[in-house]
Symmetry: C2
Subunit: 413 residues, 2 copies
């Protein structure tokens, strides 16, 4: 990145400018070859062609009888059986037929498959219905897909149905845009692990488990989590341990306090700051840096601020690295309680969205204001963030705001 | 289940009746205790109370100085420093102050914290601003949450923020509604694995990889997949291997062909059929059975039919077992191409939904009709199923249909 374009550090930038800088810093990685059971949800990085016609043979689509159309209404002899997986060379001639199972290749001369339920069988003979349409219940060779045709393209999202397509064409592995690797370093001498009893003045680390949950929610299965004290040496050692990770999240130590060592240590580590401080609430003291293709985020130590910064900036970087649209489209909703904007700062309001009614696509937005950017209690049921533009006058209930869903949340009911 | 309420087997039932029978067959399992990093997205099965006040001490919310309000505009002595994690007993008296870091406990006598940026420091002295509001930048003890208060309830979805709440209160494990275990048994002598070259009449197994992808998409990480030939012995052996799984999916062999052994083998296995055949397209020959608390689904062998049956019935059972709302709320969308309903059957139409425009919550529905219920090529980009009620007359483009998202798909952009 041209440093001439960098906003001066220590001068706050707008949330949208910060997001643009994050996305501009993302390096796309070379694609990775993965087995079928690991590719669902990723973006394909190669073209897939049908290796043959599908179906590869005229296929029976019902359990029944392979017949000639001229035998409609006649009583004819059943001269054999075709199971799926078998090739039967006995031809179907007028006056005789073969019993055939769903999925089996039609024998030569088959003009239609008559459903088992539509014939009267008696011993080795069947009486056929009065009318038989040519081609009925036969999927002709190549009718689903012709050999050589491109069936999936680079950039396509691999759905379970796309996995079925890939499996059909005989591939056991495919090239995909890989997920980034991610490490979390929590800093703070005041933090103890969740299972420990805090001494006076201490608190338990909640950012570590929260960030690990957010990362796993985006399907990155094994984020590394290290915890270090407020010591330049310890932080630098931890950074050296995670030097190969694509994304590093540090929490705490990014403010202006005497023990906020992260900005300094990042410099010693050889990382170049991209921006520092964003005109937003919560999460003002957000720091972003780069070291080669590695992205480093200095997230605020206050849990709600840390959560918002992951939601808005880190998740966007992850999605872009995975070849996806980085920014989720906002959804409009009716505000259910008044909201007080912040002066000169965009307010990202944790909220719960639910449907206004079953029959419509309208959403209601229930604000979950915390008492501070450390308050995770009030916000624990949030499923979205509403964006409240800077301003002075209260936004009354009934107004429309835009929100984005948190995480890889399934559609809420 | 009272067998008197069962619809007669071998008589087709409606899709909604089938769904009701699936949900009625679900047994809720006893909750399971899991560590913090595995609970995200699950439903809590116990009450969580705050173990203490939060914050546990009056906490500085900014880097700055712990002062008395009476010292506004005065130049006073800095007599010490309080870092996060430390308890400093030096009281704050008029005429002096302590430097304090974000997150640190305020020393006795602190009336406000003045931001570092709002003072003029010179050596060991600082000049304070003209006005200092009492309580400014202090989070009083218990202001976020009082000790003993219920912070999360049984049935709450564990979001990453809820994980932070649980970690704060000192728990390393919690009781959650557990995910069901799931095994897939693909049947069919005609199937070879994706990496093999099919002999004439054979095809590659695409249902196995597809179902594994669908199961993993719902966050059940290790579904078992077995493949067996069309042999009663082999199918029964496979069933005995998966006797302890909560849900078993069998594919193929559920139709009326001579080699469709699944209904018979399920009976030998001691499973009681709940229903067989649903008035729907695709997926008519769906079979559902129960053995104790185990649910067994005989899914059709045609891939698209198999996919729809998982989407509509199996996924609902999984969600209910996990304590979630089993049925996703349908979304309304404008049909972008005409659709021909099926006579006497509900047609579940694979489709792609996208936004009508950025600013609204309206959706457009692009049908992805396959040429048959085996055609995964046409439908591979589907992200939803639209429900087309039984009927005879074409539904023109521009009409509104209801659809449900497929899988745990994130909100599409």
């Amino acid at each position: 990145m041209d440093s001439g374009e960098l906003p001066p550090l220590r001068r706050m930038i707008d949330p949208d400018a910060a997001l643009r800088l994050v996305l501009k810093s993302v390096t796309r990685h070379p694609p990775q070859r993965l087995p079928l059971h690991e590719i669902c949800g990723l973006q394909l990085a190669e073209e897939i062609r049908a290796d043959r016609d599908y179906p590869p043979f005229p296929r029976a689509m019902m359990d029944g009888y392979a017949v000639r159309v001229a035998d409609a209404a006649a009583t004819i002899e059943v001269v054999g059986e075709v199971a799926a997986g078998c090739i039967v060379k006995t031809p179907v001639r007028e006056g005789c037929c073969l019993e055939i199972m769903t999925g089996a290749p039609c024998p030569p001369g088959t003009e239609a498959v008559v459903q088992k339920e539509h014939v009267r069988r008696s011993g080795s003979q069947v009486t056929l219905p009065k009318e038989i349409k040519p081609g009925c219940h036969i999927a002709p060779r190549g009718s689903e897909c012709r050999g050589g045709v491109v069936v999936l393209r680079p950039g396509d999202t691999i759905t379970p149905l796309a996995t079925a397509v890939i499996a059909s064409t005989g591939l056991e592995t495919v090239l995909v845009t890989r997920r980034p690797s991610l490490a979390v370093i929590t800093t703070g001498t005041e933090l103890v692990s969740p299972g420990s009893e805090p001494a006076p003045g201490q608190i338990r680390d909640s950012n570590g488990p929260m960030l690990v949950a957010m990362v796993r929610d985006l399907r990155i299965e094994k984020p590394l989590h290290l915890h270090v004290s407020d010591s330049e040496d310890e932080i630098l050692q931890a950074l050296n341990k995670v030097a190969k990770y694509d994304i590093v999240l540090l929490t705490g130590g990014v403010s202006v306090g005497n023990h906020d060592l992260v900005p300094r240590v990042l410099q010693d580590f050889g990382a170049e700051a991209v921006f520092y401080k964003v005109r937003q609430k919560p999460g003002k003291p957000l720091l972003m840096a780069k070291r080669g293709s590695q992205l480093l985020f200095g997230l605020p130590g206050n849990p709600l601020a840390c959560h918002l910064c992951f939601h808005r900036y880190v998740a966007a970087a992850i999605r872009l690295m995975e070849g996806k649209a980085p920014v989720l489209t906002p959804v409009s909703a009716t505000l259910m309680a008044a909201v007080q904007p912040k002066k000169g700062k965009t307010y990202f309001l944790a909220a719960r969205a639910d449907r206004a009614d079953e029959a419509s696509n309208s959403w209601r937005l229930h604000p979950l204001h915390g008492v501070s950017s450390a308050d995770v209690f009030t916000s624990s049921k949030a499923n979205c963030y509403a964006e409240v533009p800077p301003g002075c006058s209260e936004i009354p209930a009934g107004e429309v705001l835009l929100f984005t869903w948190i995480g890889a949340a399934p559609w809420p009911n």
